[in-house]
């Protein structure tokens, strides 16, 4: 079932909601569930995830059938929790000094049995698009004029779609052509994930939920990592950019039939090689942990802002 198909949360039954939530309350509070972008349930060597435990399944279709919740919404919630979960010490556990972690249960509590949540992820995507097009967005200086124009065109088409208008496929094709011509692979390195997100979502709003979550996860990771640069020296900022250049080179490198990278994409990137070396990573580990800790409040503010938006959309559904 796609996110846009009609469905009823918890089959419309408050007793089903109570029973399913009971499965996750205690293990979530005990931090034995680990948020993940996959449905993890009884996989070898992998801790169960919140959503995997809620539906007691690894299967996307079975999850939706059992819970009446779009699987993409569940995985989006886990995507928002994952970066904070990893950085919050166990003593700051749920209900303590890490309010963002309480979102793990809050979003489930906020669901009205019988609600159709199919448009929550698309509306959240629209919120993100409008946010990243704002001039005060943290990564705004790294979004090229071409991609900004693509983003504005997508937002305009989504608005018309939500107003009930049928958009001609040719209009979408023009936007995608512009996105491909703008070429995310050549975007400023801090803008690469924004450009990729814009390229991926250049489709009708009702059709993007499944792909949005994966590309949003990379975008959020990149955004939170950027917030760390406020606590870095100039040299550390340059090193971070070289690391991103290296990651991007690996991500876009040509691959053979088996998916292995042809050649060494870092061969011509000695600075990327240096900062990605085990020696560099080991020697800077302690300092980077201090940077992450210093940036933690700013990161939590970002995630809290996003979870508040998502909670509002769930409550409105």
């Amino acid at each position: 079932m796609s996110g846009a198909d009609r469905m009823q949360a918890f089959g419309g039954d408050p007793a089903v909601k109570a029973r399913l939530l009971e499965r996750v309350r205690a293990p979530w509070a005990a931090r034995t569930l680990v948020p993940d972008a996959s449905l993890n349930w009884r996989r070898d060597g992998t801790p169960d995830s919140l959503s995997g435990t809620l539906g007691e399944t690894q299967d996307r279709a079975v999850f939706t059938e059992r819970t009446g919740i779009p699987v993409d919404l569940a995985l989006l919630c886990e995507t928002l929790l994952a970066p904070v979960f990893k950085t919050v010490a166990p003593e700051d556990s749920v209900g303590g000094t890490a309010p963002v972690l309480s979102f793990g249960i809050e979003w489930l509590e906020a669901i009205q049995p019988g609600a159709d949540l199919g448009m929550v992820v698309p509306r959240f995507a629209l919120h993100c698009l409008e946010m990243l097009l704002q001039p005060d967005f943290a990564l705004a200086p790294y979004i090229s004029a071409e991609f900004r124009a693509v983003g504005c065109q997508i937002a305009a088409l989504w608005d018309r779609e939500l107003a009930g208008e049928t958009i001609a496929p040719a209009e979408w094709r023009r936007v995608r052509k512009a996105a491909l011509a703008a070429n995310a692979n050549e975007a400023p390195v801090w803008g690469y994930r924004v450009a990729t997100l814009l390229e991926v979502v250049a489709w009708p709003l009702r059709s993007i939920a499944g792909e949005f979550v994966a590309v949003f996860a990379a975008f959020l990771f990149n955004w939170l990592m950027f917030l760390e640069t406020a606590h870095m020296t100039e040299q550390e900022c340059r090193d971070r950019e070289h690391m991103l250049i290296g990651w991007r080179a690996l991500a876009i490198a040509p691959r053979d039939e088996a998916g292995n990278i042809d050649g060494d994409p870092l061969e011509r990137l000695p600075e990327a090689q240096r900062v990605m070396s085990m020696e560099h990573i080991t020697s800077t580990m302690e300092r980077m942990m201090a940077v992450r800790e210093a940036a933690r409040p700013a990161k939590e503010r970002v995630v809290l802002g996003l979870t508040d938006t998502l909670l509002g959309l769930i409550q409105q559904a």
Binding site: A4, A37, Q58, E199, I208, E211, E257, G259
Partner: protein, 114 residues
């Protein structure tokens, strides 16, 4: 978004793929493969984009080793576009880029001389 992604096995290969009048997009996957699961929404979306033009199927590479061998699958996810005896491996992994790649591949398969 009503187009269906059909599961194909060694047993149903002939009917669903070899004898298909439409080009067939095959997604070789396995349930343990994270990148395969991440790609699934894109494959489902492609089925809707090409509804009526291309048949989109998925093949569990663990359960269908003969099919995986036949199409030279060495790693998953592995996407291949097939028409009659022609097969083109697809390398992109987002809907936007795959549509661009598939449209080019379709032109080569359907109008090889053009």
């Amino acid at each position: 978004m009503s187009a269906e992604v059909i599961s194909v096995s060694d047993n149903t290969y002939t009917v669903e793929i070899a004898q298909s009048e439409q080009p067939v997009l095959i997604d070789f996957w396995a349930p343990w493969c994270g990148p395969c699961m991440a790609l699934l929404p894109t494959i489902e979306a492609l089925a809707a984009v090409y509804d009526g033009e291309i048949k989109v199927v998925k093949v569990n590479a663990d359960e269908c080793p003969q099919l995986a061998d036949k199409f030279g699958v060495q790693g998953i996810p592995h996407l291949v576009l097939v028409k009659d005896d022609k097969a083109i491996t697809l390398r992109e992994r987002t809907r936007t880029r795959l549509v661009s790649e598939i449209d080019g591949a379709l032109a080569r398969i359907m109008h090889p001389g053009a």
